[in-house]
């Protein structure tokens, strides 16, 4: 097996054109896209300028008074009642949101304007604002009842996005969603820590249902455009390794080198496994080299701790195994049909489609939802999400489902390659 690996690595390394495409192109594209689409990312906030109209149909004071009255009528100890009322005053949802908008970092990026409903609609149509946030009547009371007493249906903040500023409006929407999620989780944590009788099962349920795996608020800085594209381009160009390996397998067939290998008495499956291992090894080396270049040439992922890099290596290894499956499948189909059409189609079209769906060119959050859904099943899309989340400091628990999906794809593709390979010309 090592002989196959050594040979494949040597053959690729000696092919300078291929090597330049696999190593230099991603870096060039990272630089171009990283600078060109800098404004899309949270890491560089200077370019963000969102105008928002706020239509407040609620009255926080009345909401707090209603809530205090409700709490006073509950059959609870006085201390508990006082604590609930104090918490409500501190955590009144809209008050917190207003303070959030007034904070230095956010006020630089988001300018809020208080308006009446009709006025806001008019401003949105006139493209004077990018989005309208409506706080419905009774919001404070209903939200506090749900958050602190788990009574009622809660309430909703309504965000209307302007079609003229999809990106800005979508970012604003994300910020509000993130705020709501954060409020919910803080309440849940508070509930879990204060109420010791609450079982672990229930705590876990609260987190899962309320968060839906979309929480992005962490202590880490948002990923920069250069970091995003360093990952995006690395995972995209890794796919080319699979088609390159299959293309080389085709050359081995028509030059009868494959026959020579068969004549050595080696089982053909060993050859196929060799291709999978070679693809995985080359992908791993390629991605590691690209990340190293991004780190030292483009200054991406600077100041990241060692644990971050270890995590990156582990995720990259699993991704490489997944692409190894693709390498084996493409090789098997190429040998089955004795044609290099599939590697050519894969590198000429399928990789670009995968790259688009997986978010290598533009983050899928800025694309129609279907892109994100499909992209979640492309190896590059999964790897991009996993590395993005890892670099934002999310825990292993968040990333595990993604890497498991990579391994499932690896098993499926390798299994399929065995099936196809066994149906090639009988020897």
């Amino acid at each position: 097996m090592l002989s196959f690996l050594k040979k494949d690595v040597l053959v690729l390394v000696r092919d300078r054109t291929e090597l330049l495409i696999l190593l230099l192109m991603p870096i060039i594209l990272t630089v171009i896209l990283g600078f060109a689409l800098k404004g899309m990312f949270g890491g560089e906030q200077s370019g963000l300028d969102i105008e928002v109209a706020i239509v407040n149909q609620d009255n926080t004071e009345i909401g707090l008074e209603d809530f205090s009255r409700k709490v006073s009528n509950l059959s609870l100890p006085e201390d508990a009642k006082n604590q609930l009322i104090e918490t409500a005053e501190i955590a009144a949802p809209f008050k917190v949101l207003e303070e959030f908008f007034e904070s230095k970092e956010i006020s630089e990026a988001i300018k809020v304007h208080d308006m009446k409903a009709a006025e806001a609609t008019e401003a949105l149509e006139a493209e004077e604002v990018d989005a309208v946030l409506t706080v419905p009547s009774g919001f404070t009371y209903q939200a506090l009842m749900k958050m602190l007493l788990d009574q009622g249906e809660g309430s909703e903040l309504l965000v209307e996005e302007g079609s003229h500023a999809l990106l800005s409006a979508s970012i604003f929407h994300d910020i509000v969603t993130s705020y709501v999620d954060t409020m919910n989780i803080e309440t849940a944590i508070a509930e879990a820590t204060e109420n010791l009788n609450l079982s672990t099962e229930r705590a876990s349920k609260v987190n899962q249902t309320e968060l839906g795996g979309k929480l992005t608020a962490t202590d880490e800085e948002a990923i920069s455009s250069m970091e995003y594209y360093a990952i995006g381009m690395a995972v995209m160009f890794a796919l080319y390794v699979a088609s390159t390996i299959a293309g080389k397998a085709y050359v081995e067939t028509y030059q009868h080198v494959f026959d020579r290998i068969l004549l050595s008495g080696k089982h053909p499956i060993l050859y196929l496994s060799g291709k999978a291992i070679s693809t995985s090894t080359l992908v791993f080396l390629q991605v590691v080299i690209l990340f190293a270049m991004a780190r030292f040439i483009l200054q991406a992922f600077s100041e990241k701790p060692l644990s971050f890099w270890i995590g990156m290596l582990v995720i990259t290894l699993l991704f490489a195994i997944c692409i190894g499956g693709f390498g084996a499948l493409l090789t098997a189909i190429t040998l089955r049909f004795k044609s290099n059409a599939l590697p050519a189609i894969f590198s000429g079209g399928i990789v670009s489609i995968f790259a688009l769906l997986g978010g290598s060119f533009v983050p899928t959050a800025n694309l129609p939802e279907v892109f994100g859904i499909l992209g979640n099943w492309t190896p590059n899309g999964i790897m991009l999400s996993a590395l993005q989340q890892w670099s934002q400091g999310l825990s292993v628990a968040f990333i595990t489902p993604l890497v498991v999906r990579l391994l499932i794809i690896a098993v499926i593709t390798f299994g399929m390659s065995l099936l196809v390979f066994s149906k090639r010309r009988a020897t």
Binding site: K6, K7, R14, Q255, D259, R260, I261, L263, S264
Partner: protein, 310 residues
């Protein structure tokens, strides 16, 4: 040692090989002669277990290799018509890779590599990339790889196609040496009659997927033992003269050559007088006249009506 019985291969409706029966004894050098498309490569692919016959069998020391290819694979060295090497690797790297997949390692592998490089005369240039080699050198390394695991039998499919005369001669001498000095059994396919004549003890002549004649060179040319060939070289072509020569009584066959004509006639026909007379009538300048004993080329022509390189 190796035998094929009623070997047949069809690709869809095309019959590539039809009822081929041949055998090789230990230490023999056997030629498979025939024009391009005669079915030689398909036959040796079946013999070497790379493709399954549609019908018939191939046995190695009495065991069917159709049922179990492994019985022959490690005893066999195959030199394909194509340069079956990694051209981006050096000769040494190629030999190491193929040696390892044959299970050779360490000192034994190094010794074998040194030995085969010596046989093909490329020791000094073993560290150059194969793609930088001349056609002849690539063919020699192609042979070296097949010899690496010391096979009992070597099958060579047109190993001298497209190379210069010097390299060709080197390869022919090498094959001769392997067979006569090392006792290696050789199955040599070619459409070059002179190569097969020089190297092989016995010859099978194939055409349109069938063996049309077989035997030693003497046995094959014996088919034409009652005939002789008159080769007439002229200063240019004379189409009318050709027509007239073809009508001479006793001329069995006439073939137009590059610079003249070849006449096949029964021995002692005494045609020369008539030939000279007709040449004079057509004002044709005779450059040379040669009366030959039959060659394998003539045998093939006699059997098929076509030249080997048609």
């Amino acid at each position: 040692m190796l035998e094929t019985t009623n070997l047949k291969k069809t690709f869809k409706k095309d019959i590539a090989v039809n009822d081929v029966n041949l055998y090789l004894d230990k230490g023999e050098s056997v030629g498979l002669l025939g024009p391009n498309g005669a079915g030689k490569s398909t036959t040796i692919s079946m013999i070497s277990s790379l493709i399954k016959p549609t019908a018939g069998d191939v046995t190695w020391q009495g065991k069917s290799i159709v049922k179990d290819p492994s019985v022959i694979r490690l005893q066999l060295g195959v030199v394909p018509q194509e340069i079956a090497l990694y051209k981006e690797l050096t000769a040494n790297e190629n030999l190491k890779f193929f040696g390892r997949i044959y299970g050779l390692k360490g000192n034994l592998l190094n010794e074998r590599i040194a030995h085969v490089l010596d046989i093909v005369g490329l020791t000094e240039r073993k560290d150059e990339l194969v793609k930088n080699y001349s056609g002849g050198m690539q063919r020699r390394i192609n042979i070296a790889v097949a010899l690496l695991h010391e096979p009992e039998i070597i099958i060579m499919d047109e190993p001298t196609v497209g190379i210069d005369p010097q390299s060709r001669n080197y390869i022919l001498e090498m094959v001769q040496k392997l067979n006569r000095e090392n006792g290696m059994t050789v199955l040599y396919t070619s459409h070059y009659m002179e190569e097969v004549e020089r190297l092989c003890d016995r010859i099978y002549i194939m055409d349109h997927g069938k063996v049309i004649a077989s035997g030693t060179k003497q046995e094959l040319t014996g088919i034409l033992s009652n005939e002789e060939t008159i080769v007439l070289e002229l200063d240019r072509q004379y189409p009318q003269l050709l027509l007239q020569l073809a009508n001479i009584e006793n001329v069995l066959r006439i073939i137009e050559t590059e610079k003249g004509v070849k006449l096949i006639a029964p021995k002692k026909s005494r045609l020369l007088g008539k030939v000279f007379q007709m040449a004079e009538q057509h004002h044709a300048q005779i450059v040379s006249v040669n009366v030959q004993v039959p060659t394998l080329e003539d045998v093939f022509l006699h059997l098929t009506g076509r030249k080997l390189r048609d």
